[in-house]
Amino acid sequence: MTLIETKNLRYSYPDGTSAVQGVDLKIERGEKIAFVGPNGSGKSTLFLLLNGTLRPAGGEVLISGRPIRYDSRSLRETRKKVGIVFQNSDDQLFAPTVRQDVGFGPVNLGLSKEEAEERVARALEYVGIEGLKDRPPHHLSGGQKKRAAIAGVMAMDPEVMILDEPLSNLDPAGSEEVMGLLEELNERGTTMIISTHDVDLAYRWSDRVYLLADGKIADQGRPEEIFGQTKLLFGSGLRQPLIMEVYDEISRRDLAAPGKRPRTLPELVGHLTPPDLRWMKVPSGTKVGETLSTEGTTAKGSDLPRRERVKVVHLQEEGRAVVETLDRTIGIGTVIVSDTDEMNGEDLKRMEEEWEIDLVGVMGTRSRAFADSCGITADISSNVIDRTILRALCGEVVLILTNGGMVEHTRRRIEDYCRQSGMRIKVFVLDGKREVKAGSTEPAYSCQGKVA
């Protein structure tokens, strides 16, 4: 369902310069949209038009199919549906304590005191700053402030959340936290719109991209399409995402398998073809043209079985030959996705005994709290799904602790990857529906264990 639509939207600043010139856009429910454009391209102005703060000079904005009306009651309705998190948290956090600031929205919506308090508590818990609720904003770090600002908008339960440059002024840890949060919110059903000039972020995160330049939409579409048009990008003062650039370069050198352009690191790795020719030690007596099957270990020396079939192309001095790789399989890795909402510490212990877990990844604030309470430190705490895939490709066993809708989301992502890349990763989903029997080789959990 189309949540936001604009038709030929136009707006000029009071001093006459045109900010938005004839913008048509459509945002569907549940989408993750990125507006990408250089500074000054009109992104912030556009957002203020979408929530009724600015009145267009021409064209119209439709929310859920109905044009915005500018009387105060209709504006309230609009702003309840469309929430904005501004670029600078100091512009948004104005109350003496975090709790009071987050409560500002719910109270303005006319909720009862109890309901407002409940919303605030939920929002604070969700973004993970419950412990900071009595602090004044100037005692918070950049990432915490941003999360507090998000909580403040979240507490109003908007259908669409717009974030203007959400990662500006955040350090990498803070950025990861916020992006993880945005992912969770989208899983819950909130339509997300961000503006950014970080092309890498837009490329890997969004479903659709709107390219903005000089107040006009230069192009829109899926990230792979938009970011592939280098001329357009450079003309708009942007650049190509790094992963795409790397892929293009290795493609040119014939080192990449053809296929859809990769969006994430695992996808990129999946496109790499192994080197065809290399030197290898061969047993004496080997002849040219012979096919050998080697068993070895991976370069790191771990005990993962690795099998290769090679053909001897040229014999060097005793024991060395140039061989051509025919095919190679690395031991298949395993991923166990476990829903922490259905688990307790005992289950975790049992799991550790049953499987030889190499790494633990944790995703989501509730799961992080669960892991902390069990005394587990996560090996992977950011970009969990991608990094898990990468490790599973090297044959390792990874346990992902997550919760809610993200369990399914994780499974789907890994399956999608396997399908597209042809790699094989075993995925088991544990949502605790049945008891585990100690000592069994197959976990007796729910039947969602699948081999992708």
Binding site: T53, G83, F94, P96, F104, G105, N108, E117, V120, P137
Partner: protein
Amino acid sequence: MDHALLDDYALNSPLRKKNNKLKLALVAAALLVGVSSTSPVAPLFIALTMSLAAILLGKVPARFYLGLAAAPLSFALFGAVIILFFFGSGPEIFSLEIFGQRVGASAEGAKMAVLVVSRTVSGICCLFFLATTTPMVELFALLKGLRLPDTFVELSMMIYRYIFVFLDVAVKMRHAQVTRLGCDGFRSSVRSFSMMAGTLFLRTMDQGEKLYTAMDARCYDGKLSLFEEKRPIRAQELLAASTYVTVIAALAYLSRGTSIF
């Protein structure tokens, strides 16, 4: 230039969670008694007890406390000196020659000077106790409870929040100026200061607009809400506070009129 240190101390104070009405009432009573006392005895007692409370119960570092007291104390001493020489009649205790003029200090003047200093010290210590144990964020709920006008309390809350934002900005601007030698000599200092203040002011106006837009986006209708924390009073605290107030009041009454001279 870490200015609002006192509030930061209060936010981390071990006494933060005690009932705020009680703390405020206690401090107000002590202030009143100290200011109304006609002899130095009660105020000095109050000063001693309040400072000990702040240092021992409130865990304020003693050295910091004394440093803080230095400035207002020196003001008080300054004023006291004037009073010493100009106030009061009666026999002269001693006199000084300043610029060829003879100024004399009478017994009454000395009495008054001592009294004034003691009252000031007592007041300062009461103030410090409040400032280091009760963060502003707690006091807002109190102010609303006292039925002060909403506008007033809301203004105070927002001013509180933005003081820190602007302090940060001002400090950074200052550093930037100093790095470019903007504070060499009086004239350039004045110019730099004015530029910084002017820029700060423009930022203020800008920030006002942005803040308003952000508040509007969350359906601001002109009223602010407050979530109050319930902080229960323990009977022993109430007892201790009332005892204290009674003691100092009695002390002030009994010692009325006495003095050193």
